[in-house]
């Protein structure tokens, strides 16, 4: 069975890759790529549903095993079931569902992001106190200079300094970002090839 699973993974991957690069020469490969990608989208959607189902099972178990202290899990389950049942029946465009999103999801998301403004400053202070080496200093100085250049100051924009800072950090950070992007792409390429060659089998084929 493990061999069959591995063969299926390699065959589906190679077909999609071949369809990607040889679509002009062999049109049937392009069609096969579309069909397989469609299947993968369906399966990814189903996998997300299974993830949510697992979340529900974990919290139901919490409610069952710790009845006195599992108020939060109960709130989560009720909110999840209420939203899911109503959403599946009414659809994502329904005004009441959008009301729930506007009233609950957006404010909490925005507030959590706002909390980050405080925790990031705290993290910077901790970094400066605990690891004041060359790289940390460069990192922190870059943050301060970049914020000085892009944020409004009480005396208005600083005429030469902001352009100088943005130019310097732009070139240096652009180079670093390009290096990181190329590194990430090379890593992705290598990981993908390892899967397609059957060296890595994260689908359970050991």
């Amino acid at each position: 069975m493990r061999i069959l699973v591995t063969v299926l993974a390699i065959a589906s991957g190679v077909t999609v890759l071949a369809g990607y690069f040889l679509a002009g020469a062999v049109p049937v490969l392009d069609q096969a790529r579309f069909i397989l990608t469609d299947w993968a989208v369906i399966l990814a959607g189903m996998a997300a549903l299974i993830g949510v189902a697992n979340l529900v099972f974990v919290h139901i178990e919490k409610v069952r095993s710790q009845p006195g202290t599992s108020l939060y899990s109960a709130v989560l389950i009720i909110a999840l079931f209420g939203t899911t049942l109503y959403g599946v029946i009414a659809g994502p465009e329904d005004s009441f569902l959008n009301f729930a999103v506007t009233a609950i999801v957006i404010p909490v998301e925005a507030s959590l992001l706002a909390l980050l403004a405080v925790t990031l400053v705290y993290a910077c202070i901790r970094l400066a106190r605990r690891r004041a080496d060359v790289m940390s200093v460069i990192f922190l100085v870059t943050i301060v200079l970049f914020l000085l250049a892009v944020m409004p100051t009480p005396i208005g924009p600083i005429p030469v300094l902001d352009r100088l800072i943005l130019g310097m950090t732009g070139v240096v950070s652009g180079a670093g970002a390009r290096g990181l992007l190329i590194g990430v792409a090379l890593g992705t390429l290598l990981t993908g090839l390892r899967v397609l060659l059957g060296i890595d089998r994260p689908y359970g084929g050991n």
Partner: protein
């Protein structure tokens, strides 16, 4: 009270509950976060159901022309649920194999045509200026930092060569500046969200008091 006012009042309460984390982890913060996870997960299920499963899996089952192509993903989708039980989780391996295989191929295609080739082309295009030379040097030095090939020294320690060590150190400088700029960008986003939340609280209180 209109929907908008109720929505704004609930939003205000939840914002204050989340902000209460600033004085430490507490039940109000947890309640807000658990409620958020519940509603957001329910909304995600709704979107997946209506945007993926109904149009791609359930609707084609009623169409005889597309039925044959839909039976396979239907069987694979059902088998995927076996992953929830350790005893029969092997049955979900076929569905996982399709997801991983197609995902790997898509990732290879995306990495090549979406990142590698455009980035290399952009590096070549900008090489006609002094900025381009700095960019190229920075790119190479950053990549050198991730070169972890090393040799065993006579004293049995494993070290990189002196040249690559120097290049990697210079590469770290570029990475530190890049991460600093990225950090500042994230901080600006967080600050914008904080200002938006505070202004929405002030506006709501003003409107409720009729100011």
């Amino acid at each position: 009270m209109s929907f908008e006012v109720v929505s704004a009042v609930i939003g205000l309460l939840l914002t204050l509950m989340v902000f209460s984390y600033l004085i430490g982890d507490n039940p109000l913060f947890r309640l807000a976060v658990y409620l958020f996870i519940g509603v957001a997960s329910g909304y995600a299920v709704t979107v997946i159901w209506h945007s993926v499963l109904v149009p791609r899996l359930l609707d084609p089952l009623g169409n005889p022309n597309r039925l044959a192509w839909t039976v396979v993903p239907l069987i694979l989708s059902i088998s995927l649920w076996a992953k929830l039980s350790p005893r029969i989780s092997r049955l979900g391996g076929f569905a996982m194999a399709v997801i991983v295989g197609v995902g790997a191929a898509t990732a290879i295609g995306g990495a090549l045509t979406g990142t590698l080739i455009p980035q290399v082309e952009a590096a070549m295009d900008s090489f006609d200026s002094s900025e381009g030379a700095v960019m190229l040097a920075g790119t190479v030095l950053t990549l050198a930092y991730f070169q972890f090939g090393a040799k065993r020294a006579p004293d049995d320690t494993i070290k990189r060569g002196a040249v690559i060590e120097l290049l990697a150190w210079l590469g770290r400088l570029f990475i530190a500046v890049t991460l600093g700029v990225l950090f500042a960008g994230v901080y600006l986003s967080a600050l914008t969200a904080l200002i938006e939340r505070l202004s929405s609280i002030i506006n709501l209180v003003k409107s409720l008091l009729g100011l």
